[in-house]
Amino acid sequence: MPDQNGLQLLPETRRKIEINIPGENRLIYAGTTVLVLILVLVIGLYFYRDALRTKRDVLDSSIVNLEKGRDKKVEANLLTLSKQLSLISTLLDSHVIWSRALGKVENLLQPQVQFLSFSAAVSDNRFEFKALANNYTVVARQIAAFVSDDSIKDITLTNVHILTSGKLEFSIKLDFDKNKFLKE
């Protein structure tokens, strides 16, 4: 630049002017930090994932080994026993004892009555019989004897007639209380 009247307006040599503005690189630093953190996180997750995969595989093989170690026969035996135990108590509760029922009928039978046949069934709680008696009084006493027993709920005289021998043939149907007649 020429010297104008002894006043030099511009320097003869150029100097680089450096102006430092506070915080101008903050975004770069923050971005780099986040990048580094993400990389660390990725690496951490990578190893953690591998560790989890290994743990899962170990658990899978433990489950498979446990399955292999099962004794199916023992399990079947125990299952059968469990079923039997639960069944037995139910069945024993409903178990009927006919010998006791017949004993009860015997005890109620009048001496002059002679059985010809009988038929008894649990399904309809009935005991039917055909018998011989000397006269109507005996039949009436027989009916009264059955009435006196609380295990017999109802009595039906289904038939009575005189035979040529002079004896009476009669048929009676008893409706009984299953719990009292067949169990007590």
């Binding site: 989890l52 658990l59 899978d60 004794d71 059968t80 026993l81 069945l91 006919w98 046949s117």
Partner: protein, 165 residues
């Protein structure tokens, strides 16, 4: 910053999702393993008790066996009739499989026995049956006096034995 966001979406999120899935899978397997281990330990304990009590269990199993065991039932009927002095002249043993819809855990084995003998013989026959180890419920008894000889009766006894489904 943009690179960081891209890396987050492309790497961190998939890894995170996979780790979450693995965590859930491990928890599930861990629970399964624990419950299975407990069950197997209990089964082993029960089996030890089972082995100790085999004679009692064998008796118990005879009450309601797991199989029909028709031959054993027929043999028992014959033995009981012989012991009580009555003649077994016919018998039928028919298995009835109950449907799975049925609430009962057993199948029925229907028995029908034709016998002849005295009245005390019949009552003793019934008593022995009632005390038989294999549970039999007599469902019906029909008796008629024999022709000519009224002391000899003909009976038809029907009943049910049980076996597991």
């Amino acid at each position: 910053m943009a690179i960081a966001i891209i890396l987050f979406w492309t790497l961190v999120l998939p890894f995170y999702n996979e780790v979450s899935d693995l965590d859930a899978a491990i928890k599930e397997r861990d629970d399964l393993l624990k419950s299975k281990s407990t069950i197997i330990t209990n089964i082993q304990g029960l089996n030890k008790e089972y082995q100790k009590r085999i004679p009692e269990i064998a008796k118990l199993s005879s009450i309601v066996p797991s199989k029909k065991s028709v031959a054993e039932v027929l043999s028992a009927i014959n033995d009981i009739s012989v012991k009580n002095g009555i003649e077994l002249f016919n018998s039928a043993i028919i298995g009835q499989k109950m449907s799975n819809a049925d609430a009962n855990a057993y199948n029925l084995l229907s028995l029908e026995m034709g016998l002849s003998g005295s009245y005390p013989g019949l009552t003793n026959f019934l008593k022995t049956f009632e005390r038989n180890l294999r549970l039999v419920d007599i469902t019906s008894v029909d008796a008629t006096a024999g022709i000519g000889n009224t002391s000899v009766l003909n009976f038809v006894v029907k009943g049910n034995a049980y076996y597991l489904k």
